[in-house]
Symmetry: C2
């Protein structure tokens, strides 16, 4: 019998990714393109370019809060174009195969479980470290179908107001966006730094990657920003360890490029804070699938669903 | 065929509770007695007073971090006498029935799921509000066998040092112990309050219950302490809602007696902080089983295990 195939679609704020995926999580072909205002139309054109006649279903991972029952996206600060679109109904009626929606970090966690770093763990948390911070939880081998908005836990009850409505969210202290905001504040305030010379002085264009590269050149401000963000990430890691006691925390997203300063500082801080027994039994490690985890996990949603139905 | 019975044993800091429990979670008989230094001996005498010849196993819920594999208690700040005792091995060799150990709030959550407030929810968090704060998580109907030390999430990264090693733990701001500490600080500092008259002036004996009763009499300090603790509990509730999106948060423990001030304030604060969609879909409600949840859940661990094995 030939192997089953499914389509995995992942929509984050910046890109639309589509892949044709086999039952073991292997990618047969894939497309990545910039996001657009008409996400449904752009997604469908990508699906058509990649699908074959054998697909058994389509899994969708979207950044934001999803309504699994009604197949829609409730809120997506990074992808407002997706809010309210009847994405599952539209795609299902077009391709006439089972279609499932999930949060994108949840499906990335599932992808890591099926064929990435998560393969050897039954209980782990995936944390995406990018402009924002997202989470997905695997327990006893299963993806928890909850909204694990780990970037929106308050670690500072009286701290900075977060656009989400909460106060002192982890994301405000440890994300790429928070690092850039901090750097710009300091540069505007006159702090000397090599960051000022980025983009021929148009330093408003700096990215987290620029901060890391400048830190490697020994720049004090850049190092301070990365360490401070790392320290706050460590508070978040300790909270995850104390409240979920995972065997592993798998880190992914653009910021893990800054592992040596940012993540190392986070691990140090978490080691000071978390219950010793729990810290000693958690591995804090990078994802092996990187940005492919989402499309793989999205497709695996379909395989999982089919295997439950056939029992 | 006659119904199966199991023994549920719950050890928190203060009491040893043992019950003979039927398959539907009904308590046939139970004993509650003060904790002792020799918890193994005291527990066994209670088990013998209550067991019948039909028991299929013994489930144990203990306050603290448990080592499920080796059947021991790793750390239990409230019950140090249990640390290092080979409790599962000892009990199993004495009664020759399957014996399982779990964290006590986890088993209480399972008890609520089997026959309490949790019966109508597949995804909920149980939060015990006593001297300390503990948590247990049910997802898709199953108890997560993790250490959900929700009282030890930091909500104030630069806040008060917690005896656990972390900084700014929820427990330091929202537990009965934290309320009493605050009240004593204020009374020692000379703040006028009816609390000063408790116990004929020996106000060091005050309990959280005294604070609540005094608050009901209109005492400003007592009301302020309860509201402030409630506000911080609300930060914790918002974190639980944002990171676990439960259908319900079930509250139990001595402090829920102060629902009108303390819990109401917490719910108000959580409503201001949590994602609106998630807050609107969570019910924050009291436990129906109260202190029986632990022994019921502990016994149900055994029934669950047997049903998995017989599949």
């Amino acid at each position: 019998m030939s192997k089953k195939h499914a389509i995995g679609l992942r929509l984050d704020g910046a890109h639309i990714r589509v892949a044709l995926v086999g039952e073991d999580g292997e990618i047969i072909r894939k497309i990545k393109q910039p996001s657009s205002e008409d996400i449904l139309d752009t997604s469908c054109r990508a699906i058509e370019a990649i699908k074959n006649s054998e697909i058994v279903g389509i899994g969708i991972g979207v950044a934001g809060l999803v309504d699994r029952k009604n197949g829609t996206v409730l809120i997506s600060p990074n992808l407002p174009a997706a809010e309210g679109v009847k994405i599952v109904r539209e795609i299902q009626s077009r391709y006439r195969v089972p279609t499932i929606i999930e949060n994108d970090t949840n499906v990335s966690a599932l992808g890591e479980k099926v064929c990435g770093t998560g393969k050897s763990f039954n209980n782990f948390v995936l944390l995406t470290l990018d402009a924002g911070i997202g989470g997905g939880i695997i327990n006893q081998g299963r993806m928890l179908n909850i909204s694990a908005e780990l970037g929106h836990m308050s670690i500072n009850a009286e701290g900075q107001k977060c656009p989400c409505g909460n106060i002192g969210c982890l994301e405000n202290y440890a994300s790429a966006r928070s690092m850039i905001t901090k750097a710009l504040q300091m540069l505007e305030g006159g702090t000397e730094s090599l960051l000022k010379e980025c983009y021929e002085g148009s330093f408003y264009k700096i990215t987290a990657d620029d901060i890391y590269k400048t830190a490697l050149e020994g720049d004090t401000l850049a190092r301070e920003i990365l360490r401070n963000a790392g320290k706050h990430l460590g508070v978040g890691l300790a909270n995850i360890i104390n409240t979920l006691s995972p065997e592993a925390i798998i880190l992914t997203g653009g910021l893990i490029g800054a592992w040596n300063i940012y993540v190392q500082e986070a691990i140090r801080e978490a080691s000071r804070r978390a219950f010793k027994h729990l810290f000693d039994s958690v591995k804090i490690i990078p994802s092996s699938l990187g940005e492919d985890a989402g499309v793989i996990g999205a497709a695996c949603l379909v395989f999982n669903e089919l295997s439950i139905e056939s029992r």
